[in-house]
Symmetry: C2
Subunit: 488 residues, 2 copies
């Protein structure tokens, strides 16, 4: 790989090669490292801190809606997977297996969990006896494994971190309401906190979770036009209840199967946040997610540093007291070096103060998202910073919405249109983005799109911006209006 | 197993059989369940909530002392273990191995981490180049595996949850200070939050962590007189630095090896908390650790419930607003049934209010730790509860200290004394507890104690209550004064 096309920060420009840009950006920002275990990364402190913030935002909302955390074994006996036919077919090719422990061969192979429906199904069958035990509303924060062939840091790794909610209900209606409630919580966190606009919708049958009746997702567009499935919520019906015999005695004295749901989000949200907001200067972290919201850097000649610090130190204390996540960079490096570093790391605001600023009773604020410089009176810094952080968060969502909408195409009506669209975009050096298309509901038509264009169905949005009347492949009357795009 | 000896709560009395008491108590309190995977338990929400509280108390202190969280791969290549000789010998017998993934056999076996010194050593060798990169202060919250032959919920399971800190320093002195700082943090959390008194001290060489220069521990006495090692902190010297080539260019332009430390506490703290405070009525949770600190239960005839609820509801709101972790039990069950349940779960305070209490403008508070009933004026409930919770926390530590000291023996001077002591205690139906004994420093003497009495060295306390001059086995001059006891 040649370094010639990297910019002065050592980052390949997005327009040059988006995948390289991504790797360069996350490495320069010190978020992760590769390890000798295939497809497994180390989350360095700056990367893990982003996950801790996502966790706390999610966990708070889970608890507010009555869920509690628990922890289940990571190892799952092979026989458990056999109990749900679709589930085993879906996950078997990706499972790592423990076959020995100490010096003994195990009698039954144990899988490293790819997800925990089976183990939890087995336990729920013992925990649930009566309608009084319902609903069961449990979430787990855990590591999971899917032995992927092609991996990409955060977005697809052999081991990743996630949360998986598993609930059991007396009725289908209640379980379906839970499925929707959790999807909405995902949308809320991802849009409001991570500043990523998403389409909520239903997955087509071919893209459903292995063992689910219905799968719903939130889908986000990255800056290369590809899609990231940012969270999924599944209505599992009685499938796992029947496989694992999860029955309860209802009020009417009848034995019934419970209706279960499961829902998950993972560390791939870190990758999505970077691919939606980052630019050629590095990361751009939304203020609500940023571990550091404001970095303070003294500037000007060293011999005047004392004069600057007389204002700098009280200002730091004020900002801290005001609840701003502030950091003072007093390292023995040039201001330019520091500017560069904090730009790479995506800190939303930089504050500069030098001797002349002290004379003028002012500071300079610099926005990471737009580069804009703002001169602010020293006595009003805290309120300005507060306002700016709110404003930046808002602007970042708006920009992401505008980007997504610009790259959403509504006039692609046939498969030939789509192929022509893809070629045309490539010719003009533009990304292909997503297309909204009609679909008759036949799996054959859906897979033809995939085979010929690598576009896959993202989801059937609940609130499509328009209705498409004809199937993009067979031109028959469409049953669904579907987002198609290439996906991570 | 006969149920005949269980009490009216379905719990085997401690005096009857402590191990059965423990299992009965944690099952009745719904903290965990067994699973079909050998030695792996499921942490149910009431059990996991205790871990979440321990985590938050620890994590806060780690961050206050400059540590940051990260996450490392769970799978560790076999060759990594080979690099540190003592380490591989110590852990090899307990390792589960992944040998296949998908349908392919792996070229190299991957161990499920028993601890992460090796993986982290490998990565630190790449992350650390210069003195400017030091110190590295990282902690990880993770699941770990040790394929144990005999398991006991929370205290010894094949998979457990823990935190492991891994730090690297430029000098031995700094690394040793870190080792001590973290041991002190453990002591602080365990004594102040979990209300468990501990002895801080150094492990003897035979009880050291595999690969450490020095291991330090905090040791707690359970109500059956056995010891739980409640946390360990290791000074690893240059051992792992040399095995994994973690070198840095120091200020003096010399390449040097870093000095590393590691330190850990785990979900066994849940077990210790139960075994130190629990009684024949079930758990007794210290107020600072209790997910629910006060449970409110309306009493008296149903037809007068409305009158009670007029006082009950505002009182609940007041307590909540006062920062008390309060819960109202309004289920359709008898007060007696509820009292029983919350006693089992160890909630520190119960509040009862009935129609007569309303007439008298009062409520009844009942302490879980002593059973004491206190009548309190309705207008002063919040302040009384606040005071009582502080008082209960204090009392629980004092009781645990008194228990420990009562069962610590200082006049056992020879191995024959110790054997006689054990027989005598058994004859009078008392627990054997711990003995403080002199030790010459020879491993032979230490292992003779173990072989003949099952008492093992717990640690060499920093602050021994007295000095023992002669070795308990060989009667030569002692080098160390050591706590000996049976251990979990």
């Amino acid at each position: 790989m040649s370094d010639q096309k990297k910019n002065e920060k050592g980052i390949t420009p997005q327009s040059e090669n988006f995948s390289r840009w991504y790797i360069d950006a996350i490495r320069k920002a010190d978020l992760m490292d590769y390890t000798p275990v295939r497809g497994c990364i180390a989350f360095k402190p700056d990367g893990f801190e982003l996950w801790e913030r996502i966790q706390s935002k999610m966990d708070q909302r889970f608890k507010e809606t009555g869920h509690r955390n628990a922890y289940f074994p990571m190892l799952i006996p092979e026989s458990f997977f056999q109990k749900e036919k679709e589930h085993v077919e879906g996950f078997n090719p990706e499972l790592p297996w423990v076959t020995e422990a100490g010096s003994e061969k195990l009698e039954e192979r144990l899988a490293l969990r790819p997800t925990s429906e089976t183990m939890i199904g087995h336990l729920y069958s013992q925990w649930i006896q009566s309608y009084r035990d319902l609903p069961v509303l449990i979430n787990q924060w855990a590591n999971v494994f899917r032995w992927e062939k092609r991996t990409l840091p955060f977005l697809r790794t052999s081991e990743f971190l996630w949360q998986e909610g598993h609930t059991a209900h007396a009725t289908e209606q209640e379980a379906r309401e839970e499925t929707m409630q959790m999807l909405q919580i995902y949308q809320e966190v991802v849009e409001q906190e991570l500043a990523i606009p998403v389409w909520m919708g239903q997955k087509t049958p071919s893209e459903r979770f292995a063992g689910a009746i219905d799968t719903y997702s939130i889908e986000a567009m990255m800056k290369d036009g590809k899609a990231v499935q940012a969270g999924t919520s599944h209505y599992l019906g009685e499938n796992f209840a029947r496989s694992f015999e999860i029955q309860f005695l209802d009020r009417d004295n009848q034995q019934k199967y419970v209706h279960t749901t499961s829902w998950g989000t993972s560390t791939r949200l870190i990758g999505a946040m970077i691919m939606v907001h980052g630019d050629d200067q590095g990361l751009v972290i939304p203020p609500r997610m940023a571990p550091t919201q404001l970095v303070m850097i003294p500037v000007g000649p060293g011999k005047l540093r004392e004069k600057v610090m007389e204002k700098f130190d009280p200002l730091y204390d004020q900002l801290k007291a005001g609840g701003i996540r502030v950091r003072a960079d007093l390292r023995d490096e040039t201001p330019g070096w520091k500017f560069n570093e904090w730009e790479l790391r995506g800190v939303p605001l930089r504050l500069e103060i030098g001797p002349r600023d002290v004379d003028n009773n002012q500071v300079i604020l610099v926005r990471r998202d737009t580069g804009e410089k703002i001169t602010v009176g020293l006595d009003r810094v805290v309120e300005h910073v507060e306002e700016l952080l709110v404003h930046i968060q808002k602007t970042m969502v708006q920009r992401a919405v505008a980007f997504r909408d610009k790259h959403s195409h509504f006039t692609v009506d046939t498969l030939d249109d789509l192929k022509a669209h893809i070629v045309h975009q490539e010719n003009v050096g533009e990304i292909a983005g997503w297309v909204l298309a009609g679909w008759c509901g036949e799996e054959e038509c859906e897979s033809q799109v995939k085979d010929e264009t690598k576009f896959t169905s993202r989801n059937i949005p609940f609130d499509a911006p328009m209705e498409k009347k004809k199937c993009i492949v067979c031109a028959k009357e469409s049953k669904y209006t579907v987002w198609f795009g290439r996906a991570y």
